[in-house]
Amino acid sequence: MSFFIQVVVDGLSNGAIYAAIALAIVLVYRATALINFAQGGMAVAATFLAYALTRAGVPVLLALLAAVVFGFVLGAVVERGVMRHFEGGDPDTAVVATIALLVILGGASAYFFGYEPHQFPSLFPNKTIEVFGAFVSLRSIGTIAVLLVVMVALQVLFRSTKLGLAMRAVADNPQSSALSGLPVSRLLMIGWGLAAALGAIAGVLVAPQLFISPGMLDFVLVYALASAILGGLDSPLGAVVAAAFIGVIENLAGAYLDFIGDDLKIAVPFVAVIVILVVRPQGLFGRKVTVRV
């Protein structure tokens, strides 16, 4: 039982990381109907900034805050400077533009820091605590806690503030929102900035475990994408639930099913996602889309 709890908690901790990036993907998707592959690249770039700061002696928490701010600015600049150009046109072109950004950001990170993995200091002390007879790492609990705080903060932002209302309006119908005087372009920039900031948080939280490198988030991005799609792509709650689900069953399968082992672990969430999508094509929480002729 205690082993089970450990596995589940670790799975939830992984899931929290996927959830943060999945939320970022959903945020941008709701506002612009684009899948943003550059999410991973922006998160890595912000994490590298934090890395450079910690190497210069800055405490991890401050480095995290700096990374969040940097991420926000980066996201806003990218939207205004690059994505704005593609947002009205062919969606495939826009998605490939995000791929180009992913490559550029990865290449830039590699240029400054190389491709080899480096150690990254953890935000949480390297201790384990006892919960119901199981030993869970403080890092796992801390990661989950941070994500919950972020989720609550986002919820407050979107449901109770004017800015959040405006962002939801723009995500729903940008042309109509403009007619009510909403500054659509500025809100899109803020949306991207927020998404990138979420990625920065995820990056800094996961870097101690994965060792920071330009390719650090490649797999996380894939899981985040799967979570976002499984959750229904327009539902933030769905993305988080799906991410938790994926994190947990991946770990459970790896731990309890011998033939799966560490390398095929990644297949399990995907098989599960496929099965669920076949049964429920709109995802766990998505809306059924009716296409009007």
Binding site: K162, L165, A166, R168, A169, A171, D172, N173, Q175, S176, S177, A178, L179, S180, G181, L182, P183, V184
Partner: protein
């Protein structure tokens, strides 16, 4: 000085020119109609005013040329456009839709009062104030769109085909509310309609468009008196 004046306005979608020199004016506190058949350019004229289509010519609002300003700028100046298709923000609740309409205002107390006023104007909306707007019927969404435009406390309201897709009784109810709005809140209006009867319940005069040009204009009585108008737009 008229509140709103269009002088020789053309408009194009890409290479397709849709308006070929429209001129009309709206006096202070007035209400004017834009009539015409499908494809005549009525919606495009409203879009020209609110700034969502490329134009040439002059569009004067309170004497100032606003052609070339985008929709959020014209909204800021006091022009509220209720678009064709209503532009309902489906994922937001009825109340939230109204609050979005008041986005540019800073007077929170008055905003709350105005929300109550709109809900009183449209009792249907009061019943469903917390529902997602996408769940509303066509008529209710139209009411919501009008209410949302009003929430901006605009100087001019541009109403685009408010009767579209609505049952006649529903359309009449919408227009009754619009009349009440005009009377109680003194909002000037430009009303685009294919159904001239409904339009004339609100407006004092109208301009008739035909393939992007002004074909006729005049007061309500003049136009209603013309056989051609009656046959084409009033059904006999």
């Amino acid at each position: 000085m008229s509140l709103l004046e269009l002088v020789d306005v053309t408009a194009s979608y890409g290479h397709a020119q849709v308006l070929h020199g429209i001129s009309f004016s709206l006096p202070e506190n007035g209400a004017t109609g834009l009539l015409g058949a499908n494809g005549a350019g009525k919606t495009t004229t409203l879009r020209a005013i609110s700034g969502t289509v490329r134009t040439t010519g002059r569009i004067l609002f309170e004497g100032r040329d606003i052609s070339g300003l985008g929709p959020d700028r014209t909204a800021h100046l006091g022009i509220a456009h209720v678009p064709e298709g209503r532009g309902t923000l489906g994922q937001l609740s009825v109340r939230e839709n109204l609050l979005v309409g008041a986005y540019q205002r800073r007077d929170r107390k008055q905003v709350a009062t105005d929300v109550d006023y709109v809900l009183d104007l449209f009792p249907n909306l009061q019943e469903r104030v917390r529902s997602n707007a996408a769940a509303l019927s066509g008529g209710e969404q139209q009411m919501l769109a009008v209410g949302r435009a009003f929430m901006a406390k605009p100087r001019v309201m541009l109403l685009d085909e408010a009767s579209l897709g609505l049952a006649p009784s529903t359309a009449r109810r919408v227009y009754e509310a619009v009349v009440r709005l005009r009377r109680e809140a003194q909002v000037s209006m430009v009303v685009v309609e294919q159904n001239a009867n409904l339009a004339f319940s609100v407006v004092d005069d109208a301009t008739v468009l035909e393939t992007g040009r002004v074909a006729l204009s005049g007061s309500k009585d003049e136009l209603m008196g013309m056989d051609a108008v009656r046959r084409a737009y009033l059904g006999g």
